[in-house]
């Protein structure tokens, strides 16, 4: 149907045919035996054929003109639609570029901030180890002089217990801040995830269901223990956020270099990436929490229940693997962590 609007000859053809028919009628009425039927119009007999010819020609020209105007109107509308679509596309592209730029800036800022905090934490950890060591040493010296199971002996034991907690905290801070020289090997991502899930299994409540949708074989260059730690930290957070009841979905997939997800983070990449998506059906988080979630010592948990280092360690490990971690969350709807890791080409 739309082809009709692009054929320029159509109005001329219609007008031409109309004019031809008019001439044919004029000729027919003028020269043939039609007078007998027109007796009642006898006084106008001599004008009728001319009147029909005039009306026929006018009608044909008018029809041709209407067709041409409709064609022009259609073409203009099509042109306007095309311009509008181009503009829409351009606006979308600009908005996406602006959004990616903003995301990149935020990621860069976040990375710098974490690096700075990491350096600071490393320094604090060193001094704190010395302080802790002095407390432990003096307490042990005092304890040696006390009678076993006496009140003083037991109280000094409590100090030693508290220092143990301090020691654990320091080792976590150091894990975050130090550039550990972990051995990197080619590892099968899906098998690594399955192994991490097997590790976690005894601690997962029965009311939490974990679904693992694995893609074809995905290999990365990385440290298996660190990837285990990433999964354990994220899944433990998910379990806490679901208050022990809900579904955790883990999904792995290959990503092509032109994948929009990668475009968001990197301008161009010739590297193939893979992704691990971990979603929960927990209570989700607000924008303010999302912005701070990877910061060391930031926690929404009750005092004593979370060190606030779990996700900052995750961030640090993913960066060490030259990857990226994205967070998407909505209050009341749950949270999705998307981890991008460079895929290893076999």
């Amino acid at each position: 149907m739309s082809q009709m609007y692009t054929k320029l000859w159509l109005p001329y053809l219609v007008a031409g045919i109309g004019i031809l028919i008019s001439f044919f009628l004029w000729d027919f009425i003028l020269w043939h035996h039609i007078e007998a039927y027109l007796n009642i119009l006898l006084p106008y007999k001599s004008y009728l054929s001319w009147l029909i010819l005039l009306l026929g020609i006018s009608f044909s020209i008018l029809t041709g003109a209407v067709i041409r105007i409709t064609q022009l109107d259609y073409q203009r509308t099509a042109l306007l639609n095309q311009i509008q679509a181009t503009l829409k596309k351009e606006i979308n592209e600009r908005m996406q570029a602006e959004e990616s730029k903003q995301k990149l800036e935020i990621a860069l800022l976040q990375g710098q901030k974490l690096q700075a905090i990491g350096t600071l934490a490393g320094g604090i950890a060193h001094d704190f180890n010395n302080i802790l060591y002095a407390i432990i040493g003096y307490t042990e010296i005092l304890r040696e002089d006390e009678e076993k199971n006496s009140l003083k002996y037991n109280n000094l034991g409590k100090i030693l217990e508290a220092t143990k907690r301090g020691r654990e905290l320091i080792s976590r801070i150091l894990a975050f801040s130090r550039k550990q020289h972990h051995e990197f090997d080619m590892i099968d991502l899906n098998n690594t995830i399955e192994a991490a899930l097997a590790l976690l299994k005894p601690t997962i409540p029965a009311s939490v269901m974990i679904q693992f949708k694995r893609n074809n074989a995905i290999s990365i260059i990385g440290n298996q223990t660190q990837i285990h730690q990433v999964l354990v930290n994220i899944i433990n957070n998910a379990i806490d956020s679901m208050e022990g009841e809900g579904i955790i979905t883990i999904h792995t997939a290959h990503l092509a270099p032109h994948d929009p997800l990668l475009k968001q983070l990197m301008q161009t990449s010739i590297q193939n990436y893979c992704k691990i998506e971990i979603s929960d059906t927990g209570h989700g988080m607000d924008q303010a929490t999302m912005e701070r979630v990877f910061e060391p010592f930031f926690t929404t948990k009750e005092v004593g229940k979370g060190s606030g280092l779990g996700l900052s360690i995750v961030h640090s490990i993913i960066k060490e693997h030259k990857g990226e971690i994205l967070l998407n969350s909505q209050l009341g709807r749950g949270t999705t962590f998307t981890i991008l890791l460079p895929e290893c080409s076999r």
């Binding site: 490393g122 320094g123 950890a125 060193h126 001094d127 180890n129 010395n130 302080i131 802790l132 060591y133 002095a134 432990i136 040493g137 003096y138 042990e140 010296i141 040696e144 220092t163 020691r167 150091l174 130090r178 550039k179 550990q180 020289h181």
Partner: protein
């Protein structure tokens, strides 16, 4: 028992370790940095040197490399709580430079005393 040179810049840790070592009947010489330790080594002949790694003036790493050349029979125990590198990074380096044993702070003092006894024992064996 043994004569031990303790090199540690943190006063609290140094005093505490001195007490721990003295209670185990060792004689303790104290130094708060690598330079002081070098001076002690010119006058005294300790059996074992226990040294921290990150210290002002002269670090434990420099001290260990110097001492190993000048006093090859001196047994060295390195201790560290980390810094720019993780403690194990410094301790691995100190062991490759010649430290016999290394410990990450906070140390289990019993393990430290046990290590000293073992080093003394092997030293005596080698001497006899």
């Amino acid at each position: 028992m043994a004569k031990i040179l303790l090199v540690e810049d943190d006063d609290l840790v140094r005093d505490m370790l001195t007490q721990v070592l003295q209670r185990a009947s060792h004689t303790v010489l104290c130094a708060s940095n690598g330079e002081e330790a070098t001076q002690h080594l010119q006058q005294e002949k300790p059996d074992i040197m226990v040294t921290d790694i990150i210290m002002p003036k002269k670090s434990g790493i420099t001290l260990i490399s110097e001492v190993k050349n000048r006093h090859p029979n001196l047994e060295i125990i390195a201790i560290s709580g980390g810094g720019r590198l993780d403690p194990m990074g410094y301790l691995d380096l100190s062991e490759s430079l010649g430290a016999s044993v290394s410990f990450e702070k906070p140390i289990d003092n019993n393990a430290l005393l046990m290590a000293i006894d073992l080093l003394l024992h092997s030293k005596e064996k080698a001497g006899s």
